[in-house]
């Protein structure tokens, strides 16, 4: 009888242990690692200077002197430098009449370059990729850009592919979110996230104030990121995803319409940027931080902040300064979306960040401009090139996008980083002594001129 009982117990016990093993194994394979990433850098012939920008504005027949003044002022004070890149059609003078082919060629240049480089460097062949997520907001093509990538690199038939569009400058983290979720279901997978922005077909040819700004601020750029959840590649990985939080304020009408693509009175399509944009951005940012802070800050900081706010409220003192939560207790590096000088300044102020913290974002804005969704990866590249990233450091990425969305995530650095990347040729020149636009003097007069006697100087 005893041996019979023993046998009876043995089967369920072994089954139990087997199930436990499966659960633990699943949990191990659910981490999201970045193996490598590569940012796109076009050739030097695509560099666009402030002077050339001025010429482009002047050759647009629809823009009058007031618009010329407004735009130059915007460019000069934008924080964008002289070495950013523009799409090719601008250099051929065709920005007012781009063709469908222009948009596709612009994307092809990037897709043929970055993906090959990231796969070569990490030694992964295209047929090993299990998940592909491509996000380019402002172009749709049939077949999708994702299908273009699959065709060019001959990827497998059973690949899980998603093509996201229309999700704005924060789409990078949405793509990472998809990969993070798929990694929890599939073991031992490679994922490729490709992010960029299409500028050629979206040039605004009208003269509506709120819409012409978009023409001047966006620049060419893109990034291909190789991610995996293979536990065996943990030593080679660069970053590990700790948490990701998405906040969507589309329910509020003013947030939804502050950054919207529409037609002006003459029927020309452009990107309208409303004056309420900073307010919507701040609101979304605060909501996002409310969810994110408990996940990334240490308990001591959270306790301190709650005690200070509570005592402030109780004592009802009106000494003006509200308690500020100190993010540096849980985060070592800040990777901010380079939406513009105002955005970087705004975030710096809200989080009480020093110039050292804001330097990567400022320098990226200066060197590469606002490359939309891929800007976060250029900022990351700067930090890596400056050898700031050490093992165990925590990196906080924040991005904003149309809708209005604020997405943020926390990465842990897995090893000391300092490989060659897109900043190679110029990292030693950064940070420069003076970030001011060299044409400030030439165009500085635009700040003082009386509009009624304004004449364009030679």
């Amino acid at each position: 009888m005893d041996s019979f009982l023993l046998l009876l117990c043995f089967l369920p016990v072994s089954y139990l242990l087997f199930k436990l093993f499966i659960v633990i194994d699943q949990k191990r394979h659910q981490c999201c690692y970045i193996l490598d990433y590569h940012c796109y850098k076009p050739g030097d012939d695509r560099k666009i200077s402030t002077e050339f920008s001025g010429e482009i504005i002047r050759r647009n027949k629809n823009l009058g002197l007031n618009e010329y003044k407004f735009l130059l002022k915007a460019i000069v004070s934008s924080g964008i430098g002289e070495q950013t890149y523009a799409p090719e059609m601008i250099f051929h003078g065709r920005e007012t009449c781009p063709t469908f082919e222009d948009g596709i060629t612009e994307m092809d240049e990037f897709l043929n370059d970055s993906i090959e480089k990231v796969l070569d460097r990490s030694g992964v062949s295209p047929s090993e990729i299990d998940v592909l997520v491509v996000n380019v907001s402002m172009i749709t093509s049939l077949p999708s850009l994702a299908a273009r990538v699959i065709n060019r690199y001959k990827m497998r038939e059973d690949i899980k592919v998603y093509n996201l569009t229309g999700m704005g400058c924060s789409a990078s983290l949405i793509a990472v979110n998809i990969v993070q979720n798929i990694f929890k279901c599939c073991k031992n997978a490679y994922a490729l996230v490709v992010t960029s922005e299409s500028l050629s077909p979206n040039w605004y040819t009208g003269n509506h104030r709120s819409m012409i700004l978009a023409n001047c601020l966006f620049r060419t750029g893109g990034c291909a990121v190789l991610m995996t959840n293979k536990v065996t590649l943990k030593n080679r990985a660069m970053f590990k995803l700790k948490c990701l939080v998405r906040t969507h304020h589309g329910a509020k009408d003013d947030s939804f319409s502050c950054c919207i693509q529409r037609e002006d009175e003459q029927g020309r399509v452009g990107f309208h940027l409303d004056k309420t944009l900073p307010k919507s951005a701040t609101r979304a940012f605060v909501d996002n931080l409310k969810v994110m802070s408990p996940k990334i800050l240490p308990l001591t900081e959270l306790l301190r902040f709650s005690i200070v706010s509570f005592s402030r409220k109780m004592s009802q003192s009106i000494d003006g300064s509200r308690p500020v939560i100190n993010f540096k207790t849980g985060v070592n590096h800040f990777c901010l979306h380079t939406g513009g000088k105002a955005v970087i300044d705004g975030i710096g102020q809200s989080l009480n960040l020093s110039e050292y913290d804001l330097e990567p974002a400022r320098m990226t804005l200066h060197r590469f401009g606002n490359t939309s969704a891929s800007s976060l990866w250029y900022v990351l590249g700067y930090m890596e090139a400056k050898k700031r990233l050490k093992k165990g450091d925590k990196l906080f990425m924040i991005s904003f996008g149309a809708g209005f969305k604020c997405n943020s995530c926390l990465w842990e650095v897995l090893r000391d980083l300092g490989d060659r990347n897109v900043w190679d040729d110029c990292i030693d020149n950064y940070p420069p002594e003076n970030l001011a636009n060299p044409f400030m003097e030439k165009y500085g007069w635009i700040n003082d001129e009386d509009p009624s006697t304004f004449k364009v100087p030679e």
Partner: protein
């Protein structure tokens, strides 16, 4: 393709042999266990009640043992349930029905075509011939902007069409299911060729004031099979997030994609694509288990983009005059057939009963080892599925699939009638077809449905659903006012 059996397979006796064989193999496990259970029962009865009692008393139980063993049993049961993948249910879905004022009968279409392409009589003739053979009916609809001569596709009218289609479908779904928009956790919108910024998903969130921590995704460019891709993404997300629901909106916005040139290969989509959209509510909550209509069993995706010919067969490009349109290559059917074969090879083992799988395996071995000239055995998918929803891409697609899968006219009826009544509504056509089967009262609990969709790239995606409860004939839905006229015979060529 005839199966590799001799001519006298038509005789009745062999038919019964085949049926018997299928029954034997499919119910093998039951048939093997029954004699074992009977023997055990006989043994127990032979022992007699007294002996059983003594056996019972000899097992000494004390409190510790009882607690320990019950704890083990509970732990086992919990582990079993935790490690199972979460089932994904389709609570309900709703299809958009355009108003009658948007209808485009053949006469209207040809009249517009003659005026707009007045300098190109050959292109007009081509369009007429396509329409005659298309399998479309007189009640398909186009959005208001396309009714103008010439069409006025502005961004505002595109947004207008999107709002009309998507919001109507979601309203219907909200009424049917009683769900509050604030309770939706995941939102996926797929629309191939219209992608404004902010995205259509942001537009839905704005209209219905959804929560700020909603996980939204906007897929585009993925063609007519994007509906199944969105379901796949929703399934993966629902595996990770417990107790959640997902709203999937599949549509295609026609307004910005009307081809305004004269190239023939690009005029074809103008003739076939029509307005339509569907909203689907998926859930993994236990409380929805009873009221859900379907359960998702499998999703299989096949992407043939690596092959250049497959990649180029549905391609958006500029014509020599610079007008943008979608060109369809002549090899479309052949490529679709290849993609389908690939998809079947993966889905076959998941759904086919054991009898069919064995036959297929034997035929494969035979072809490889004995004689490569043997005709490949085409598994009988009618054994695995009760209903087929084939994307209503066009008459040729449905004909091709009916031939390859050896389906009867009843199986493809839903697809043909959807093509007739609504035209090719791209990714939402699968849902109109499901709705047809329900409206005809053919959907019963336990039925399996196979949805197959093709898309640019070239993709072939399939989804398999199991009917979870008896589905009553819907009192609202796109077929309510016309189901009695169907099925109707659609002639090969309709003379205009």
């Amino acid at each position: 393709m005839p199966p590799p059996m001799p001519e006298f397979s038509n005789s009745v006796k062999l038919k019964y042999v085949k049926l018997g064989y299928q029954y034997l193999v499919n119910h093998f496990l039951t048939l093997a266990l029954v004699p074992v259970i009977i023997t055990l029962l006989i043994q127990v009865i032979r022992l007699g009640p007294d002996e059983i009692l003594t056996l019972w008393h000899s097992l000494r139980f004390d409190l510790l043992q009882i607690l320990g063993s019950s704890f083990f049993v509970i732990l086992l049961v919990t582990m079993f349930f935790i490690t199972r993948p979460r089932p994904v249910f389709l609570v309900d879905y709703a299809c958009y029905k355009p108003p009658a004022s948007f209808r485009v009968p053949f006469s209207t279409f040809m009249e517009h075509s003659r005026i707009i392409l007045s300098h190109e009589p050959k292109s007009v003739d081509f369009q007429m011939r396509i329409l005659e053979r298309s399998g479309l009916g007189e009640e398909t609809c186009l959005p208001p902007a396309i009714h103008y001569i010439p069409p006025t596709p502005t961004m505002e009218s595109s947004r207008g069409e999107a709002e009309m289609v998507i919001f109507s479908a979601i309203e219907l779904l909200v009424n049917q299911t009683g769900i509050k928009p604030k309770d939706i956790d995941i939102l996926i919108v797929n629309c191939s060729l219209f992608s404004p910024t902010p995205s259509l998903s942001a537009m839905v969130i704005n209209k219905y004031k959804m929560r700020s921590n909603i996980r939204s995704f906007n897929l585009s460019g993925m063609g007519c099979s994007a509906g199944v891709i969105a379901i796949d993404l929703a399934r993966d997300l629902l595996q990770v997030h417990p107790n959640s629901n997902a709203l999937v909106v599949s549509t295609e916005i026609i307004t910005p994609n009307n081809y305004q040139g004269k190239e023939r290969s690009m005029l074809l989509p103008n003739c076939l694509f029509r307005m339509g959209g569907a909203a689907i509510l998926l859930s993994n909550r236990r409380s929805d288990r009873c009221r859900a209509k379907y359960r998702l069993l499998h999703v299989v995706r096949t992407h043939r983009g690596a092959d250049d010919k497959a990649y180029r067969c549905v391609y958006e490009e500029e014509d020599p005059e610079g007008k943008v349109g979608i060109s369809l290559s002549k090899d479309l059917m052949a490529i679709a057939g290849e993609a389908l074969k690939s998809n079947i090879t993966t889905i076959g083992p998941l759904v086919l009963p054991a009898s069919e799988q064995i036959l297929f395996l034997l035929s494969l071995i035979g072809r490889k080892i004995f004689n490569p000239k043997w005709k490949p055995y085409i598994p009988d998918f009618k054994q695995a599925f009760d209903h087929f929803c084939i994307h209503a891409g066009g008459r040729a697609v449905i004909d091709e699939l009916q031939k390859s899968l050896l389906l009867s006219p009843e199986h493809v009826e839903a697809s043909r009638m959807t093509l007739h009544r609504f035209g090719n509504t791209s990714s939402s056509s699968l849902w109109y077809e499901m709705s047809y089967i329900e409206a005809k009262g053919r959907m019963r609990k336990g039925d399996k449905v196979w949805q197959i969709a093709f898309g640019s790239g070239f993709k072939c995606n399939s989804a398999v659903w199991l009917c979870n409860r008896s589905v009553h004939t819907p009192t609202n839905g796109p077929w309510v006012d016309c189901i009695d006229r169907y099925p109707m015979h659609v002639p090969e060529v309709v003379k205009i």
